[in-house]
Amino acid sequence: MSAAPSTTEPKRRESGSLPDTQGLFKYVVALADDALVLGHRLSQWSGRAPMLEEDIALSNLALDLIGQARLLYAYAGEIEGRGRDEDRLAYLRDEHAYSNVLLVEQPNGDFAATMVRQLAYAAFMHPYYQALTASTDRRLAEIAAKAVKEMAYHVRHAAEWVVRLGDGTEESHARAAAALEELWMYTGELFEMDAGERALVADGIAVDREALRPRWDATIDAVLAEATLKRPADRWMQSGGRSGRHTEHLGPMLAEMQVLHRAHPDATW
């Protein structure tokens, strides 16, 4: 590891051993990938949203997520200690190295799909970051403290729209219902943890995702009820994003996102 200040050094376990640096790096990068991919998706609405106020709102949401990604990538790079900064991690990793959940890489679709996707993600990440503020890793706790307030607004914004789309016109209700059906199979992956992440949970660094299920269910159920939308039936959940196995959508998105940096790798402005 580089000669970093003590805030970046993982806390030692009671046995005296350090949590696995590789595992911590993987974990932080996954959080960053979630934020960056969703942030980039939202930025694709810029200039194309159904109304001016919503165009600015979506851009704000995108910037929140990209800001979170930057902080997380910077920390991940320090943990790894191989000189990779946020740009190298964001722009120079291929699809298979990206470990975001499949939900965030799904195309924007129509406005209903974007709001349903945002609700599903934010209803999870809001309580997640709340819990993460108690992490034994001080840097993660600090990042979480900032992100919590942002995610609170994301939940509120997405929920208000899902309610109005669901309890709206025939067309808006149909689109919202279709979006729910389409995206539901990607929501299960939010709660997945592999052995590495479970170890970090045991160390008090990461958050137990499964434990957030009741809260996520409560938020989603409340919003869907007010939106007069039916909660989709239980089903097999898509998975694989955390291991770099992505849907056909991530590749083209990354290509577009990374092309400028790859064409001019050392450009600054």
Partner: protein, 95 residues
């Protein structure tokens, strides 16, 4: 299907210095909750606000610019209405 036009709302913002809410602009929104959100997203991006008011533009009654003369010019010659004709004793300090 004819669309109902989306209402216009006037946005007033109080900043951190605590001075009264100032008019910041307007937003289109379907209802009050979304109007508040739109105002937050459009007009408070640079930390300007601690408080937002949104008011339907239709609720605002404004003076007619053509009546400026009869409404406002008479006051120009009534200097006895200004609180400047007494001396504040030094012990009172700043008023």
């Amino acid at each position: 299907m004819p669309e109902t036009p989306m209402p216009l709302w006037e946005v007033f913002i109080r900043n951190r210095s605590g001075l009264p809410h100032k008019h910041a602009g307007s937003v289109h929104a379907a209802d009050a909750t979304l109007a508040l959100q739109a105002a937050r997203d459009v007009y408070t991006r640079r930390g300007e606000a601690v408080s937002i008011w949104v008011v339907p533009s239709a609720a605002i009654t404004a003076s007619d610019p053509a009546e400026k003369g009869e409404l406002f010019e008479p006051t120009a010659s009534k200097i006895y209405r200004h609180p400047t004709f007494y001396k504040v004793p030094d012990e009172v300090g700043h008023m």
